[in-house]
């Protein structure tokens, strides 16, 4: 049956594509076209999931579970719930966009680039669908390798250094994660997520609480660096400024945040609850800190790195507030941020391809010359500042309003972020597009958005509006998974707070 193998198909179509890419001759745009085709096919396959998702059913769906290695006991176990489903679709959607964004930016060593790009796709999809934690760890590590190599190969100026930084920051905590996984296996005898979850819920109290605490911390550290959560963001601005657009689009955010929700909240609800005050504080600091520094950045990529820290901190806040609404909002905001963040990265890349610099100060007054680009910039920026009826608002509002119910002062501080984000985004828009035309803009004649770029950006912009006005369509699936988590928390002698205080 299709439903029984769809996840494997989605995950490994890019790998098959990568193998073909390796065999293809380097001729014309053949590799680009082929990769585009593969990524479109993957996207089409991911759309099968929402079409056949059973909203009434709890637990994981489209499951595949086969014994793989007898000892240690590793299964090939895939499955998705309402949270991971949209992330899989999102990866599918962003794939073709990334190929289009790389079309001209990557001109040398295209075979290497697209090969690793497709491997990276498989790794990310695998992270979201793997339910065996060993398998998950394999995908997680795999997602780091092509990234590091591509950053080193295609960096702007200091690619290798950025790659090393990325490597150090992400691999070390991953080692911790591996240790923690092995410890868990030693206790439970299984790598299976579902079985481990059950085991911990029932026998968790029998395990040494301190050990469990360290294990949960190891999970959290690995994921928090990847998000990144303040103050672990040291790698992000270097990686953003060096990585090719297609890589920068996927390097931050969803993998880490998804993993925190799935594993930290799913396996260690009690420990997560205990560390929540710290995480909330870090999230709120991250929101204000990222926004403040974005306010004074001149380099577009570094500007975006700090704005990203700020935006992703909203998701962290939503996760650790332990409310149903907040968690819904956090998952939704992950989707929103990935979409809008990808769009703005593509837009920055487009600008770089034309003018060869990311220095804001060199730009100015482009709106009259490049009206289509200006329009896309403005809409994307508005989506990122959370303008209502665009996507960013829904998630931000759910997160802030629900966190206000449990931590009013932290939430108030976080809400100050909406002022700062408007300030830095509009400053960026003004510097690039308004005022007199700068020397650079006057001297260089460049085309406005071309068809290829339009194909990448217009679907994204339309989706921003759709996600902004039709949120129930997505949240329906997310909400089911969140409710289920809330129920499983009940086993662990704790409850996810009711979303809106039901006083009286």
């Amino acid at each position: 049956m299709f439903n029984d193998s769809i996840l494997s198909l989605i995950t490994f179509v890019p790998t098959a594509g990568a193998i073909v890419v390796a065999l293809l001759p380097r001729r014309g745009k053949l590799i680009q076209w082929f990769t585009l085709l593969v990524s479109l096919l993957t996207f089409a396959l991911t759309l099968h999931l929402p079409a056949h998702f059973n909203y009434g059913q709890t637990g994981f769906q489209f499951e595949e579970n086969h014994p793989w290695i007898a000892s240690p006991n590793i299964h090939y176990h895939l499955g998705i719930d309402g949270i991971s489903m949209w992330l899989v679709v999102l990866v599918g959607f962003l794939g073709p966009l990334a190929v289009l964004a790389s079309w001209k930016a990557i001109e040398t060593r295209t075979k290497e680039f697209y090969f690793l790009f497709l491997i990276q796709q498989t790794a990310m999809l695998g992270v979201f669908v793997a339910l065996d934690m060993f398998l998950y760890y394999g995908f997680w590590e795999l997602s780091l390798v092509p990234m590091a190599i591509l950053i080193a190969m295609f960096g702007r100026q200091r690619g290798p250094q950025a790659a090393i930084k990325f490597f150090i920051f992400t691999f070390l905590p991953s080692a911790l994660l591996l240790v923690a996984l092995l410890w868990l296996y030693a206790k439970t005898g299984t790598f299976d997520f579902v079985l481990t979850q059950q085991y911990l819920a029932q026998n968790g109290s029998a395990l040494a609480p301190q050990a469990l605490w360290w294990v949960s911390l190891a999970f959290l550290a690995a994921f928090a660096v990847k998000v990144p959560v303040f103050p672990l963001h040291g790698w992000l601005s270097d990686v953003f400024s060096e990585a090719p657009t297609a890589m920068a689009m996927v390097v931050a955010g969803k993998l880490g945040l998804y993993s925190i929700i799935r594993f930290n909240l799913g396996l260690f609800p009690e420990q997560s609850r205990q560390i929540a005050p710290l995480m909330i504080a870090l999230a709120v600091i991250g929101i204000l800190y990222g926004a403040s520094i974005a306010l004074v950045q001149q380099d577009l990529k570094r500007f975006l790195a700090f704005s990203t820290v700020g935006h992703l901190s909203f998701c962290t806040l939503g996760i650790f507030c332990f409310t149903v609404v907040g968690l819904n909002g956090a998952v939704y905001q992950v989707l929103n941020h990935e979409l809008s963040g990808a769009a703005i990265l593509i837009l920055f890349g487009i600008l770089y391809e034309r003018y060869g610099t990311y220095d804001m100060a060199l730009y100015g007054g482009m709106a009259a010359k490049l009206p289509r680009m200006a329009t896309l910039y403005v809409i994307t920026a508005l989506s990122l500042v959370g303008l209502p009826i665009l996507n960013g608002f829904v998630g931000e509002f759910l997160i802030l309003s629900s966190s206000f119910g449990v931590h009013p002062y932290w939430a108030t501080a976080a809400t100050l972020g909406v002022i700062l984000s408007a300030a830095y985004m509009l400053t960026m828009i003004q510097k690039l597009f308004y005022g007199e035309q700068s020397q650079l803009v006057v001297n260089k004649n460049v085309p406005d958005i071309v068809a290829r770029e339009g194909f990448a950006l217009i679907p994204a912009v339309i989706l921003m509006l759709v996600l902004g006005v039709a949120s129930p369509y997505w949240i329906r699936a997310i909400g089911g998974a969140v409710d289920q988590m809330a129920n499983s928390f009940a086993h662990a002698t704790m409850t996810l707070l009711p979303n809106v205080a039901e006083k009286r």
């Binding site: 090393i164 150090i168 691999f171 080692a175 005022g435 129930p472």
Partner: protein, 681 residues
């Protein structure tokens, strides 16, 4: 149940106009762009008129739920629209004045580049403003609220090649965001306490709990009021509005005078059930309103740019509306909102006509003697000047007097004080408006002095190499002026107080909304349909107060006359006087001319420290030092370990695997020995 009114069409039609013109308008001829924009505004106007004609047969309030917008856990928000008396007045103002300004703009903007863009934005504004007014819950209202801010941002920055315009647009958006912060916190509090953002849901809960006084309702009211000060340009967030005059003049008329800036007043009136429970919040609103009214009027006394005078006047008049809300005279506030929309839109459009006639000149010091050259503009503007100055029977007289009277008789302890401040402001208003009137239209033309300086860039004409002679504007600009002039004369007659032999119809009309605080919406509608509005006690002034009201009216007209007289003296009879006075009180004059240096103060106290903190402390010191430094130290440490491992493994192993293995081993050992737990592989 009334059959569906399809309220959703009212905002959506302008949105369609925005989409068509915004996506395709660049390629359209101007006539087509104009037609689309006009039709997209005319249809909602006609629909609103149609509703108004059948209004008495409707069951009110009428609610219309279109779709679910957000639902997560037990939080729920709909795309839902509501119609009641208050909504109807707002709808008539927004679509009516909006349509007139669309007409006018076709003439005013005829020679501008980006003509299509202008009309697309104008339609976008209509969409958001109508959403704001029609929304049945705070969240949808917030959509309109932020959306009009966006439209305002785009239109202020319409001449985006000018740095001042781009700066003004950004300033407007960011300052409004500070207000929106308050609105958001207010909504969070509402959710925490009521579990919903629906007006009906919140107000009916309040109605059922008469014991709720102050407390959390004060907090909610104050945060909402902060939101309102942003949108309605009140202290402390008024600073964006004067700068917003960088936008084309029709925008100033529509957005920054008649409609958007009144959204804060509308929001307070809409949420009056909350404000009514908090005397403290009400007093705060009253004091903010009175202070802003006076403060802005004093700045308006000395401004020389015709639009800036009107901008400060708008801030000041909005202060009156705030003042009215603060003494719980919401109907009076909405009444003034209505008349102000007429005469202030007219003032701006007439000023635009003057600017148009003078090829982009906005400085009143080089105007003068235009009375005969542009007679229609002169006469229509005269009607507006008399209206805002508060002379009977012009519109502004009735609404302003209602506010002052309500403040005077208010049981609120600040009532008498804000009445006095309001009265004083009325005198100042009269003065600065007649100053504008005399400087622009009377005396001799001072246009020859214009050669000394270049006019404010912005309007098309300055791009022309040589100026054309002074000319009256085309009919498409004059027709809206005439209509608004008529409304500025008669618009106040819907609220003639009993003291002057009237029936104050607007007060009665609004009373089901404004006096419904003790009843839920359903109860009111039931009561209304059965008892024909008799359930609400008519807020008619008792006999004894009629003489008081008359007396107060005489006092305020006398104050306005004094203001006129002084303006006459200074700017008509003895034009050398102003300079002499300015020289005598140089300090005060300079203080007013520089707007109390508030912008500079905000810059020094807020913006500079924030940027300093961000640039040097956070970015320079902390991020470069601690975060990156820490990362590098970590890097060197691991590189060191890595090379160690490489040496141990005779350089064969990839450093990645080395780190991984080493880290894993270390941690395994740590876990094993550290916690004494048994590993059983």
């Amino acid at each position: 149940m009334t059959s569906s009114l399809h309220l959703w069409l009212i905002p959506l039609v302008p949105f369609a106009g925005f989409l068509v013109n915004g996506l395709l308008g660049r390629r359209f001829p101007k006539a087509l762009v104009t037609a689309i924009a006009w039709i997209a505004t005319l249809i909602p106007f006609l629909q609103v008129l149609n509703i108004a004609l059948h209004f008495s047969s409707l069951t009110l309030p009428y609610n219309e739920r279109v779709a679910t917008w957000i639902t997560a856990g037990n939080f729920h928000a709909d795309f839902a629209f509501a119609l009641d008396q208050l909504t109807l007045i707002m709808l008539l103002v927004v679509t009516g004045v909006g349509f007139l300004i669309h007409l006018y703009s076709a003439g005013y903007m005829a020679h501008e580049e980006g003509y299509w863009r202008f009309f697309a934005y104008l339609n976008l504004f209509m969409f958001f403003m109508l959403t704001l007014v029609l929304a049945e819950n705070f969240l949808l209202m917030f959509v309109g609220w932020e959306g009009v801010g966006l439209a305002s941002y785009l239109l202020i920055g319409f001449y985006f090649t000018k740095d001042s315009a781009a700066n003004a647009g950004k300033k407007a958006f960011v300052v409004n965001r500070i207000g929106d912060f308050g609105f958001l916190i207010g909504m969070f509090l509402l959710i925490a306490h009521f579990g919903t953002l629906s007006f009906d849901g919140i107000f009916s809960q309040i109605a059922q709990h008469p014991e709720w006084q102050g407390g959390f309702l004060t907090a909610i009211a104050l945060f909402l009021a902060l939101g309102a000060t942003g949108k309605s340009a009140q202290i402390p967030l008024y600073v964006w509005l004067p700068d917003a005059m960088e936008g084309p003049t029709p925008v100033s008329a529509l957005i920054h005078a008649a409609t958007m800036v009144t959204a804060g007043v509308y929001m307070i009136a809409r949420a009056h059930a909350i404000f009514d429970r908090s005397p403290f919040a009400l007093s705060t609103v009253a004091i903010i309103g009175a202070a802003t009214a006076l403060f802005a009027a004093t700045i308006g006394l000395v401004q020389t740019d015709i639009k800036r005078v009107l901008a400060y006047s708008t801030v000041s008049q909005l202060g009156y509306m705030f003042l009215a809300c603060g003494v719980a005279a919401y109907s009076a506030g909405i009444f003034h909102l209505l008349t102000h929309a007429f005469f202030k839109a007219l003032l701006f459009l007439a000023a635009g006509s003057v600017i148009h006639a003078l090829s982009g000149e906005q400085d009143m010091r080089v105007m003068g003697g235009l009375r005969k050259k542009i007679p229609v503009t002169f006469w229509t503007m005269t009607a507006a000047v008399f209206a805002i100055a508060g002379f009977p029977p012009f519109a502004g007289f009735f609404s302003k007097d209602e506010i002052l009277y309500q403040a005077f008789i208010s049981p609120n302890p600040v009532g008498k004080i804000v009445w006095f401040v309001g009265l004083l402001t009325a005198g100042l208003t009269s003065f600065y408006m007649f100053r504008l009137w005399y400087l622009t239209f009377f005396g001799k033309s001072r246009a020859d002095q214009a050669a000394a300086h270049t006019p404010e860039p912005g309007h098309h004409a300055e791009k022309e190499e040589h100026k054309h002679p002074v000319h009256e504007s085309p009919w498409i600009m004059l027709a809206p002026l005439v209509i608004l002039a008529i409304l500025s004369v008669i618009g106040g007659w819907v609220g003639v107080p009993a003291a002057l032999g009237g029936h104050n119809e607007i007060e009665h009309f609004l009373s089901p909304v404004m006096h419904a605080q003790h009843l839920s919406f359903e109860q009111v509608s039931v009561a209304m349909s059965t008892q024909q509005q008799a359930v609400v006690p008519a807020a008619e002034a008792p006999e004894g107060n009629k003489s008081l009201e008359l007396l107060l009216a005489v006092v305020s007209v006398a104050t306005a006359l004094i203001g006129w007289f002084i303006a006459h003296l200074m700017y008509f009879a003895k034009p050398e006087l102003p300079a002499q006075i300015a020289a005598k009180v140089r300090g005060l004059y300079s203080l007013l001319l520089n707007k109390y240096w508030i912008d500079e103060l905000y810059g020094a106290v807020i913006i500079t420290p924030v940027l300093f903190l961000s640039r040097y402390v956070l970015k320079g010191l902390f991020d470069t030092g601690v975060i990156t430094g820490g990362g590098l130290a970590l890097g060197y440490a691991t590189q060191g370990i890595g090379s160690l491992v490489q040496r141990v493994q005779s350089g064969n192993i990839r450093s990645y695997a080395g780190w991984l293995a080493l880290g894993a081993a270390a941690l395994l050992l740590l876990t094993y020995f550290g916690f004494g737990t048994h590993l059983s592989f």
